[in-house]
């Protein structure tokens, strides 16, 4: 009998071991990133990520790079003393929650190579201290997410993202406005995916590409905080991992040796011969240039492209381009409207086939520019191919201000038409200009033109993606920033005391009482049977 009993236990153990092996195997296979699927039922799909992020994580796996997310969330200090502090705590909590939720997707999609670590300042002070030193984190920085990438054979790199400043969009009340005393800041949106994926992408890129801003042709150019300045653009480029530098062409006309991209913003006169030659030669050697023209009220501050334009086959109109606006109220029976300041900001169509604008076209992101001018092709320079990027609708016209008065009316005897305001130019590389021992010589140089203001501080919050796409593409980084973020919007619960009383009664007495009653009836009927 003893042997029989032993046999039974052995049977159980062997069967159990085999079944356990099958269970482990099933769980392991199902955990592989290729087979693993996430179904996102979270509110507003705040954990879903764009296809671009999925591709990015695939690239990460392909390069066998390790990705670590370190979360530093210092505890809230005491109780909120007032409504403002309480709201700050609420926003911070929500941002932490949304970040954690989003990182779960990165973890699931990234597989073994992605680690998500939340540092506990009290639970494990030693490890937290080590990590804080490694990433130069200080308590005063508040809630921070560190994105760290380690590519095999290379130095590990990391980037710090502040939850309230980078990942969240917090609307601050205008306390100076009347009736605004009790208003509180509100978490308007969560842009975690855009920021995190951009950080990963910039960390994966080898080296730090240098973007040189051409000085000497744009007297109004400033990196300040005013609406017409470019501080936000430069800041965004730096966050993307670009090294933004200045190229003072009046001192040295040669394009800096380490330049990955040259940017000319709102030049008010054509490039002089030295700079033209320098830039053109650089483009013929595979260089990349982005020129952003804009119309200026001073007549002689509207360069048309000059010799640089002739060499590349383009010319910029000297007058601004206006475009009739839609009659959204429908009062005119579908006619388009003019004689409105809004005609100064033409709404543009984007080229759905070009990598710079493809995703903008797919996501139907509206795009407007101020002070637009028309770009037109001239001549057929050898080895140059031109592609229209941005175009107005067919209700546009070139405005003329003969008496110095700005006139927003469409001229009567001129046929309305569409105008090109953005162009990508591809130039064949001249091998003779390349040093003889250049490894992997480039085949083409690129110039991107936009004739209209869109990436100033005023425009960046709305159309900044286009500027960053241009820089990413020109420096041969894949388009990343126009990914569709979930755009989470917070909904705050507002309940009055009588409602809470009713809820308490319903939950504490109503529901259990109903079960008690039902149970009593069932047991009574059972007894009677």
């Amino acid at each position: 009998m003893k042997w029989k009993s032993l046999g039974l236990w052995v049977n159980l153990l062997v069967g159990g071991a085999l079944a356990l092996a099958i269970w482990v195997l099933m769980a392991w296979v199902a955990s592989r990133p290729a087979l693993r699927t996430l179904v996102d039922l979270t509110p507003q799909q705040s954990s879903s990520v764009d296809a671009i992020t999925i591709d990015l994580l695939k690239e990460l796996r392909g390069r066998q790079a390790d990705l670590e997310f370190h979360q530093f969330y210092p505890p809230f200090e005491g109780q909120a003393a007032d409504a403002l502090k309480a709201q700050e705590f609420r926003i911070r909590s929500r941002l932490r929650e949304l970040t954690k939720l989003l990182l779960l997707s990165y973890q699931a999609l990234g597989g073994d190579q992605v680690k998500v670590i939340e540092h506990d300042l009290y639970g494990d002070p030693q490890k937290t201290r080590e990590a804080a030193q490694r990433f130069d984190y200080r308590d005063s920085a508040g809630d921070v997410l560190v994105v760290a990438v380690r590519v095999p054979g290379k130095e590990p790199r990391f980037r710090k993202l502040s939850l309230p400043l980078d990942l969240g969009r917090i609307e601050m009340p205008n306390t100076a406005a009347p009736m605004a005393k009790n208003q509180l800041p509100v978490l308007k949106a969560f842009v975690g995916e855009v920021q995190i994926s951009s950080a990963i992408k910039s960390l994966l890129v080898e080296g730090t590409p240098a973007v040189y801003v051409l000085m000497g042709f744009s007297p109004q150019l400033s990196d300040g905080a005013t609406g017409g300045s470019y501080g936000m653009l430069f800041g965004a480029l730096q966050k993307l991992g670009f090294d933004v530098k200045r190229w003072d062409a009046s001192k040295d006309a040669a394009v800096p040796a380490d330049a990955a991209l040259v940017v000319a913003l709102e030049p008010v006169r054509d490039f002089n011969d030295k700079v033209t030659e320098s830039l053109h030669t650089w483009v013929k050697r595979g260089g990349r240039v982005f020129v952003n023209y804009a119309w200026n009220e001073l007549d002689d501050w509207n360069p048309t492209g000059g010799k640089f334009g002739q060499l590349l086959g383009y010319e910029v109109g000297a007058r601004p381009v206006f475009h009739k606006i839609r009659d959204t109220s429908g009062k005119t029976g579908g006619r388009w409207l003019d004689n409105d300041p809004a005609v100064k900001r033409p709404e543009l169509g984007v080229n759905p086939g070009h990598p710079i604008t493809r995703r903008l076209a797919q996501s139907r992101t509206g795009l407007e520019v101020r002070h637009a001018r028309a770009i037109r092709e001239i001549g057929s320079p050898a080895g140059v191919r031109r592609d229209v990027l941005l175009v107005t609708g067919d209700q546009g016209w070139q405005a003329a201000f003969p008496e110095g008065q700005q006139d927003y009316r469409a001229p009567l005897n001129v046929k309305l038409a569409s105008f090109d305001v953005g162009m990508a130019i591809e130039v064949d590389v001249d091998p003779a200009l390349l040093p003889p021992d250049t490894p992997n010589p480039p085949k083409t140089g690129h110039v991107v033109l936009v004739a209209g203001q869109f990436c100033t501080n005023e425009g960046m919050p709305y159309y900044g993606d286009l500027a960053l796409n241009i820089c990413n593409w020109l420096t041969e980084r894949k388009v990343l920033l126009d990914l569709k973020s979930s755009g989470y919007e917070a909904k705050y619960l507002q309940v009055q005391p009588p409602q809470i009383d009713r809820i308490g009664f319903f939950l504490v007495y109503g529901v259990p009482g109903l079960f008690l009653l039902l149970g009593g009836v069932v047991l009574y009927l059972r007894r009677r049977q």
Partner: protein, 254 residues
């Protein structure tokens, strides 16, 4: 499968007319009602994001107790009672296969457990009306949490069936299941805290998978369904039901 269906119906009926089942329901909803009303008051006082309410409602103590204690209580009688009263011999000689018996008993326990949870979803729906919260709650996390709870309970109930098949002592079977539940709910966390898992991928993965309560709170209750976790739970259910089957078969041979 006819045998499984017959067993399922018989067992489910037994659960539905058992005073213990109704007592569990009353106590559970009493505790949950108290906790939920306090949670709602907390949300109202602090004007918290209403989309978090369903998710946080699954992090209450009543959820933990329901997961830890109830599977043991529901399954303790499955086979242990039959063995104690001797009716197991009748069951084993009846024209039903062991697998049908196991599936029928486990299925009845799982469905009853699901029925116990179902009113918690309906309660949240009722709270949406103007008389109560007057707000649109996010039901995505509720459905995901319901699925997660069903899978987790299915695993624990499958272990409960197995534990019940090992002994003729009903209390011992319940105790074994409760210890297993407690271990599964607490042990991965304790191990992760005392061992450096950051450098060991396989240990980290194992502990991640076994940390069922954290997985429930961080994934299912937030509205995220990870197919690898679904496979893990289904595999676990299959594993313990298989062991239960072997245990019964061994008894038949003995």
């Amino acid at each position: 499968m006819n045998g499984a269906w017959v067993t399922f119906k018989k067992e489910l009926f037994a659960y539905l007319v058992s005073p213990v089942s109704w007592l569990i329901a009353v106590l559970f909803y009493l505790m949950r009602g108290y906790e939920l009303s306090r949670l709602v008051a907390h949300f109202a006082d602090n004007r918290l994001d209403q989309e978090l309410l369903p998710t946080l409602s699954y992090g209450l103590t009543s959820t933990f107790l329901m997961v830890m204690l109830v599977p043991g209580i529901l399954t303790m009688r499955c086979f242990a009672e039959e063995r104690r009263t001797g009716s197991i011999e009748t069951l084993l000689t009846a024209p039903v296969r062991d697998v049908d018996v196991v599936l029928g008993k486990w299925g009845a326990a799982a469905v009853f457990y699901g029925l116990l949870w179902l009113p918690s979803v309906l309660v949240l729906h009722v709270l949406e009306y103007g008389w109560f919260l007057d707000a649109d709650l996010a039901f995505g996390p509720v459905f995901a949490a319901y699925l997660g709870m069903f899978l987790l309970a299915g695993l624990l109930l499958a272990f409960g069936c197995f534990a019940s098949s090992l002994t003729d002592n009903v209390l011992l079977a319940a105790l074994l299941t409760i210890i297993f539940c407690f271990g599964l709910l607490r042990l991965p966390n304790l191990v992760a805290g005392s061992v450096d898992v950051a450098g060991n991928y396989y240990l980290r993965e194992l502990l991640d998978k076994l940390d069922v309560m954290r997985n429930f709170a961080e994934w299912f209750a937030r509205g995220l369904i990870d197919t690898s976790q679904v496979v893990f739970y289904l595999g676990g259910i299959g594993f313990f039901l298989f062991l239960t089957g072997i245990s019964l078969q061994s008894r038949r041979i003995a």
